[in-house]
């Protein structure tokens, strides 16, 4: 697991049509570990807020007895936020257009999460 491997894994995610950017984020800190973003995307802001959301969702799912989250997809009017938690505590985050192929992005996020394991 190194910066080059992280970069390659994120590149696979961003090659999906409609993906504006992908990041590896420290789940506990909300800090960017690696990123491949289109210009104009505020990486640190997305990372901090996605990690905060992830932490709260994890607690909610834990309280509901649903176990560990595997994939989160937040669909908004102007796009989508997709998150896959890796076993290492890192989060693989993608920001995408509203009409993106979610299944394909999910697959690439899961592959990236394997690299970040």
């Amino acid at each position: 697991m190194n910066a080059v491997a992280f970069g390659r894994a994120l590149e696979q995610v961003t090659q999906v049509r409609g993906v504006r950017g992908a990041m590896l984020v420290s789940g506990q800190d909300g800090l960017v570990v690696a990123e491949q973003l289109m210009e104009g995307l505020r990486g640190p802001a997305v990372a901090a807020l996605a990690a905060s959301l992830s932490s709260r969702l994890s607690r909610a799912m834990g309280a509901a007895g649903l176990g560990i989250g595997q994939f989160w997809h937040l669909q908004c009017e102007g796009g989508a936020l997709l998150v896959v938690p890796a076993a290492s505590g890192l989060l693989v985050v993608a920001v995408a257009d509203p009409e993106v192929n979610v299944g394909l992005v999910r697959l690439e996020l899961l592959r990236a999460a394997e690299v970040a394991r």
Binding site: D29, A51, S55
Partner: protein, 159 residues
């Protein structure tokens, strides 16, 4: 957290700090000068805690500034220390009022370093926009010092 949790000696810091505490979900915040003079606080319940934290924070800033000077680079922008349940973020920045230091303590269950840093940028921008011009320096007399200190503590704890 409501506005009632934030107390300010200098009222222009109140709104930016209140917003910051809410957005970053910070547990304790201290806004002070690099000399340790407190401008505003949130979350502290005892004067002695504020004074200790201000003195320690100012000492850390002085140490790291000197370390940076010896390394031949500008002062460090920020310093973080993460414990088991809480984290500390200490950073200095400049305003029209002069250089200021913020000490932020956050619970890891409620917030994160990313959130604290993200909204800290907003705090700095808002403080810069609200900041008055630097006061002219004047000689500090012992009697004035004690009176001003008491007035500050009264403002910070609503006495």
């Amino acid at each position: 957290m409501t506005a009632a949790n934030v107390r300010a000696v200098e009222s222009w810091t109140l709104d930016p700090l209140t917003t910051y505490v809410q957005e970053a979900t910070a547990r304790l915040v201290l806004l002070m000068t690099p000399a340790g003079q407190v401008l505003a606080q949130s979350g502290f319940s005892r004067a002695v805690d504020v004074m200790s934290a201000a003195a320690l924070g100012a000492a850390i800033i002085a140490s790291t500034t000197e370390l940076a000077r010896q390394l031949g680079q500008p002062p460090f922008a920020g310093l973080t220390h993460q414990g088991e349940r809480q984290g500390i973020f200490l950073a200095s920045f400049t305003t029209e009022r002069g250089p200021l230091v913020a000490l932020v303590v956050y619970d890891l269950m409620a917030s994160s370093l990313g959130l604290v840093q993200l909204f800290f940028d907003h705090l700095v921008a808002e403080l810069r926009a609200a900041s008055p011009k630097a006061k002219e320096t004047r000689q500090v007399l012992a009697a004035d010092f004690e009176r001003e200190l008491n007035e500050s503590l009264n403002s910070l704890f609503g006495r």
